[in-house]
């Protein structure tokens, strides 16, 4: 991301509320070749072709574009952001490949609302999946335009020309050449990608599919990478905001006198927003601690144990996710039935970078540097809070210190915007770790109830699946089951008031972690009862070729020898599907017979994600998923009483550490002719089940609740 390089652009034309015409838009940029593209579905307001009031001012008939500048450099402008997942590298690879330029000459300009077209946000493992194909098409189209220009320039037919590293040359005479930079001099050509120029085939790839190191690593190992809280503007003040002790608390008294005594502190009181501002963050911190406020805190008394009964009580009717066969008939055919309830508590995102934002409000304009997965949503929210048109708000996306779904809500951005307006100065709001835990949009607590049965031959006869409040992603099974029903009761977030004691939201592979834990545990329970090896039991019910392949590959690489569980080996298996990607994971654990403590010794994960753009990046995402997944599998479980959160820092909310690390092996199935699928989330979904299943295999303890803690194992061991 080279946002800083573009801060000097002269936007004297001013931005108007209705979308700019493309002609006017092009004026901003000077010369070059522009290819516009449309990725996925455009928002309704854009499709209608009417510039909705207060929408960003960029043209709306495309949502990304690339530009080959007069210096020959290629820039891709997209509203997506980089948060560690590596798209700054993989997207550039795709573009460099189709354009035949060096990877180094591609710049990614991301998440800047003045330069990049509207985008809904970065989540759902969608950047490579949905953005990739049109990006490649645009690259191919640009190459075609340049080839035509080159042919004209060299006075040779295009079929006698070749391109390498941004230079077009005559095949027969390499010295007869012209560069992209030369060809773009003084030109301004704009096209909308037609999708008619053929893409390269996998055997032509020179950059796609080759491992590439992160492009942002230098900035990150030298401390130069700027995150939102690293932005310091002249005259900027650091804010601390008064927080209630509980989500249920109502303030009944307020005494600001002591805080006001501190030299240089500005106290702001604006309705519900009480804040102190100071040029030093630590002085602001001291001032906020001197504010005396009393609260009335009624509480529901719900906690991490009682929440599940509450959720079942308030659950709405289920909505069908999928059905086949006849459930009643299936029940008739079953010889053994299994009725289980699976529980999963709240999980925090806990990115290492807490939410932060710098906002500078000047007159009716605002410039914003947020830690956000949704820069365009932040733009709208800031505009609303300040009562100015969205086109007057510029969001510039700095590096993001981890998101995992937790940086979509932008509460801190709105806080900083309000305070900047009130103070008349740039303001930084950077949450403390306690605020980060308190205002997290937690992965929702959820319940899954499964009723299933097997016939006398060990084949699944029926499957009745109900998920409560996790959400439906990953709820649908992929096994051959003649009679089944899957229903989702409530979604993962946006539930009726009174459902959860605090905010919930998307957490890396939302819903799918809970659903996969329940489904794959149930599969193992049935396999064990039938006395069948859990891998064989799955294969007996799998005709999906891709799932068979990842599972068989995993068994082979892991060295899985068939045995019914519990075999005392501590081997576990789980399959999953997320964001179009197929996953099979195997694990080996050891369980201490006295304490129930689990040591994960080995995790092997096989993934089929279609075409892999950057195998190095994809591998790292898998390793990250496995490591992060150990947290929710083994330890993470938010403790609370009503709206009071008890886990507010890393002393009590445990996330994975170096000593937890198993031997990690990853395998990516080679499928270059398939469309690319998601990579940032899929491998995490199997982690709960694979650990629970391995624990059962080790000591015969079946834990039906995440996390699988030593205490829960011990209880089941009896």
């Amino acid at each position: 991301m080279k946002n800083d390089d573009h801060l000097d652009f002269d936007f004297t034309e001013g931005f108007i509320d209705s979308p700019l015409s493309r002609r006017k838009f092009l004026k901003i940029f000077g010369g070059g070749i522009f290819i516009f593209m449309t990725v996925g579905e455009m928002p309704a307001w854009a499709q209608e072709g009417s510039g909705r009031p207060s929408r960003p001012a960029l043209p709306t008939d495309f949502n990304a574009f690339l530009r080959i500048g007069e210096d020959g450099r290629v820039a891709c402008y997209t509203g997506k952001i980089e948060m560690g997942q590596g798209v700054v590298t993989s997207l550039a690879q795709m573009l460099a490949e189709e354009l035949d330029v060096a990877l180094e000459s591609v710049d990614m300009v991301m998440g800047d609302t003045d330069l990049c077209p509207w985008d809904m946000g970065t989540f759902g493992s969608m950047s490579t999946r949905f953005f990739g194909p049109p990006l490649r098409a645009a690259g191919a189209e640009a190459r075609q335009v340049l080839l035509e220009l080159g042919a004209e320039h060299l006075k040779l037919p295009a079929d006698r020309l070749a391109i390498e590293n941004g230079v077009i040359y005559e095949r027969a005479n390499r010295n007869n050449s012209v560069s992209y930079a030369q060809l773009t001099q003084g030109k301004k050509i704009a096209r909308h990608a037609s999708g008619k120029v053929p893409l390269k085939s996998p055997d032509q790839f020179k950059i796609i599919g080759k491992p590439v190191f992160r492009r942002d690593a230098y900035a990150k190992v030298t401390g130069q990478a700027k995150y939102a809280a690293d932005i310091q503007l002249p005259g900027m003040l650091y804010a601390r905001i008064l927080r209630p002790p509980s989500h249920d608390a109502k303030r009944i008294s307020l005494d600001l006198a002591a805080a006001k005594q501190i030299a240089g502190v500005q106290v702001i009181e604006d309705g519900d927003l009480i804040a102190v501002l100071h040029p030093y963050p630590d002085v602001a911190e001291k001032a906020i601690s001197l504010i005396k406020a009393l609260y009335d805190t009624p509480t529901s008394g719900l906690n991490e144990e009682t929440i599940f009964a509450h959720l079942l009580k308030v659950a709405p009717e289920g909505e069908s996710v999928g059905e086949n066969g006849n459930l009643d008939q299936g029940v008739q055919q079953a010889a053994t039935t299994f009725e289980q309830t699976y529980l999963d508590g709240y999980k925090a995102h806990a990115p290492m970078e807490p939410h932060s934002a710098v906002v500078s409000v000047e007159g009716d304009k605002a410039t914003v540097w947020p830690s956000s997965q949704t820069p365009f949503r932040a733009q709208t929210e800031v505009a609303k809070a300040l009562g100015i048109p969205a086109g007057n708000v510029r969001i510039i996306s700095p590096f993001l210190g981890g998101g995992f779904g937790g940086k979509s809500a932008n509460r801190q951005v709105v806080e900083a915007a309000r305070l900047s307006k009130l103070a008349g100065k740039p303001v930084q709001v950077a949450w403390s770790r306690q605020e980060e835990f308190f205002y997290d949009t937690f992965r929702p607590a959820a319940v899954v109830k499964i009723d299933s049965g097997i016939d006398p031959n060990g084949r699944i006869a029926f499957w009745d699946y109900h998920v409560y409040f996790a959400g439906e992603r990953g709820s649908l099974h992929f096994y051959d089951i003649p009679n089944s029903r899957t229903a989702a009761h409530g979604s993962g977030w946006g539930s009726e008031p009174g459902t959860h004691p605090f905010a919930t939201g998307a957490w890396r592979a939302p819903a799918n972690n809970t659903n996969t834990f329940a489904r794959e545990s149930q599969m193992d329970i049935m396999a064990a009862k039938a006395g069948i090896d859990p891998v064989a039991f799955r294969l007996n019910h799998l005709s999906d070729e891709k799932m068979r392949r990842v599972l068989q590959t995993a068994a082979e690489k892991f060295g899985w020898k068939p045995a019914a569980a519990p075999s005392k080996r501590g081997y576990g298996v789980a399959c999953g599907m997320d964001a179009g990607t197929y996953v099979a994971t195997m694990a080996e654990v050891a369980v201490d017979p006295d304490s129930g403590k689990i040591t994960v010794k080995r995790v092997l994960c096989v993934q089929d994600m279609g075409l892999v753009i950057n195998p190095q990046g994809a591998t790292i995402q898998m390793e990250g998923c496995i490591t992060m997944g150990l947290g929710y599998a083994l330890a993470e479980d938010l403790r609370f009483t009503g709206g009071t959160i008890h886990d507010l820092n890393f002393d009590s909310y445990e996330i994975p550490r170096f000593s937890w690390l198993p031997r990690i092996e990853t395998v990516i199935i080679d499928a270059p002719n398939e469309a690319p699928q998601g990579g940032g989330e899929p491998a995490i979904v199997t982690m709960g089940a694979v650990i629970a299943n391995a624990v059962f295999d080790a000591v015969g303890a079946r834990v039906l609740q995440l996390p699988v803690t030593a205490q829960r194992v011990k209880e089941k061991m009896g």
């Binding site: 690593a217 190992v221 401390g223 630590d282 990115p351 290492m352 390793e623 990250g624 550490r657 170096f658």
Partner: protein
């Protein structure tokens, strides 16, 4: 209490007249504009704010100015010498030992102190040294590999703290 604080920062002398109870983290980030040192938890629980004080890895969020009087501090910005990256920085790059990068400065400086103590660390020594540095992206495996590579690159010799 306001007093004159002096220390060496990344090889250069620094003098500040400041409240000596202020935490080093905020002075580095705000007064001295060195934002490579990160806030992560404020309670020495995550290691994001780790800097070297006389070669030891310390959490700057819980270290006062008073405590660094006349000492030598190295932050991530001071690790490269004359534009040449430190072997640990190179190894983190070459092993892709980072994702979001927020914990990276603290990881590298903690590893720096480890290698000063144990030029040829065992796997267990690496884990013990790095245990209290948290990473949410899950780069742990590669961080261990990077530290091993850097140790090898540095020849397994005791180096200056």
């Amino acid at each position: 209490m306001e007093e004159l604080i002096q220390f060496t920062l990344n090889g250069k002398p620094v003098q500040l007249r400041q409240d000596s109870d202020r935490m080093l983290l905020w002075v580095l980030r705000t007064d001295l504009k060195l934002t490579g040192t990160k806030y992560g938890c404020g309670e020495s629980l995550c290691g994001a704010c780790t800097v070297l004080v006389d070669g030891e890895a310390v959490q700057s969020c819980q270290t006062t100015l008073k405590e660094v009087q006349n000492k030598s501090i190295v932050t991530i910005e001071g690790l490269a010498q004359n534009g040449e990256l430190h072997p640990l920085q190179k190894a983190f790059m070459n092993n892709d030992a980072l994702q979001c990068g927020y914990c990276t400065p603290g990881m590298i400086l903690t590893a720096h102190a480890l290698l000063a103590e144990h030029p040829n660390p065992t796997e267990q020594q690496i884990i013990d040294a790095m245990e209290d540095n948290l990473c949410r992206c899950g780069a742990h495996k590669r961080i261990i590999e990077a530290i091993r590579m850097a140790a090898k690159e540095m020849g397994g010799q005791k180096h200056e703290k």
